[in-house]
Symmetry: none
Subunit: 231 residues, 2 copies
DNA sequence: GGGCATTGTAACGGAGTTGTTACGGCTTCC
DNA sequence: GGAAGCCGTAACAACTCCGTTACAATGCCC
């Protein structure tokens, strides 16, 4: 996703440069702060999409900043801790941090974690207040119940729509068969895999281009289904 | 962490005093028992955060107490063994002890081990809430069930995923074969080492670079497996 | 009442998964 | 040095799971 804004807080110039360089190379817009106070000043003016926060800071430390942020906002926070400082991880996660990375870390690990956190946040947004859903050529409008693929409208039966709706609301998350059966059909339907199987098949017939190799509704053998993933 | 409660079981008053003094000085609350029976009586009333258990006890010995505890609870257990008694170490770990200390030991070693075990437990608590896991080039996302090694996605079968998931949730802790079999396969699978062996092998084929010298899933001969080295 | 859409049930074949067994290397213990 | 135990590896067979298809039951609208 292009241009998402990330605030990096670290007093070690070496790490600040490392993180900034890699994030910018990956296409993010990066802001920097060297102290907790500086970070709060920036945050008061402008809320980024993600904060990367070193625990060890002079003055107001990472925990303090994390707590202050959580008083007013739910933006995702990744903490940077010294490797082996397990109690820092525990404390950070209790304060509401979304993830942590142990120093030293590789650029690959950094980007993987950032992407993972942002992906979850984007999906959660879609699930919540959004009234429409888009994934590739698939488009849903939750208000009008209209579903289109490559611009062409697709007629879905009520059950098919409920299934797709639940999948879309939890896009990117693995949904077990029993979970789907309970949420789409009702509590008495746990274990009734046949209905789910057939309904998924019917849905795919209408949505997928090549239903042999489903693009949207992906099977996880022995587990359940998932709508879309990254990419 | 302040005020965690530790039960010490030893029939030698000299050690009992030594351990109690050092633990209390470090800020722990300490309970004492001189026999296995006494320990079980106390445990029936109140579950501490950690048990330190001498192997050599009159009557019901340390192994017996350890086994009885494990029937009902997963609280961490540290065994005290005579130095050089390697078979005691293996036996203890097999019974589900979390660590062992060879007598005689220094106060420093005692406190280091206690802290290490408690740290792992606290981490495991948090690991439950955690939605991702990283160790070296291995990355897991628990929501999407995606596993990547060096950025490349790895396809795991349901059983392989459950095994890796349990190993990751208890990273750094020795997991006995029976524990793995019970938690990943089910209660009826204790003693069925073959399945575990083969599944571990298949997992390594997919994860490890050089499966001859495993980097992630390490074997502890006669005991079980561990994901990631002890700190 | 007849036609149509929708939904649940049953059956089958194939792909992938899983448990079993066997064998050989390695270590450990007498 | 031989026996026993443990582990990794390989191949095999049974099985599970899923997609697919056909069919029956239900409800709805004209």
């Amino acid at each position: 996703m292009p241009g998402e804004h990330i605030l990096v807080v670290d007093d070690e110039p070496r790490y600040l440069r490392l993180v900034r360089f890699n994030l910018e190379a990956a296409g993010y817009r990066v802001g920097c702060a060297a102290t907790g106070e500086e970070a709060l000043t920036i945050l008061a003016k402008q809320i980024p999409d993600l904060v990367i926060l070193d625990v060890m800071l002079p003055g107001l430390d990472g925990f303090g900043v994390c707590a202050r942020i959580r008083e007013v906002s739910m933006i995702p926070i990744i903490m940077l801790t010294a490797r082996g400082a397990e109690e820092d991880k525990v404390k950070g996660l209790r304060l509401g941090a979304d993830d942590y990375i142990a120093k030293p870390f590789s650029a690959q690990e950094l980007l993987a974690r950032v992407e993972a956190v942002l992906r979850r946040v984007r999906l959660a947004e879609v699930a919540g207040r959004q009234t429409s859903f888009t994934q590739g050529d698939l488009q849903m409008d939750f208000l009008t119940r209209r579903v289109t693929v490559r611009g062409k409208e697709v007629r879905l039966s009520p059950t098919e729509y409920r299934l797709l709706h639940y999948l879309a609301a939890n896009a990117g998350k693995v949904l077990t068969q029993d979970d789907l059966l309970e949420k789409v059909w009702g509590q008495g339907y746990r274990g009734e895999q046949e209905v789910l199987r057939v309904t998924v098949w019917r849905l795919r017939q209408k949505l997928e281009d090549d239903s042999q190799h489903p693009q949207y509704i992906v099977t996880l053998s022995g587990v359940g289904y998932i709508l879309g993933g990254p990419t």
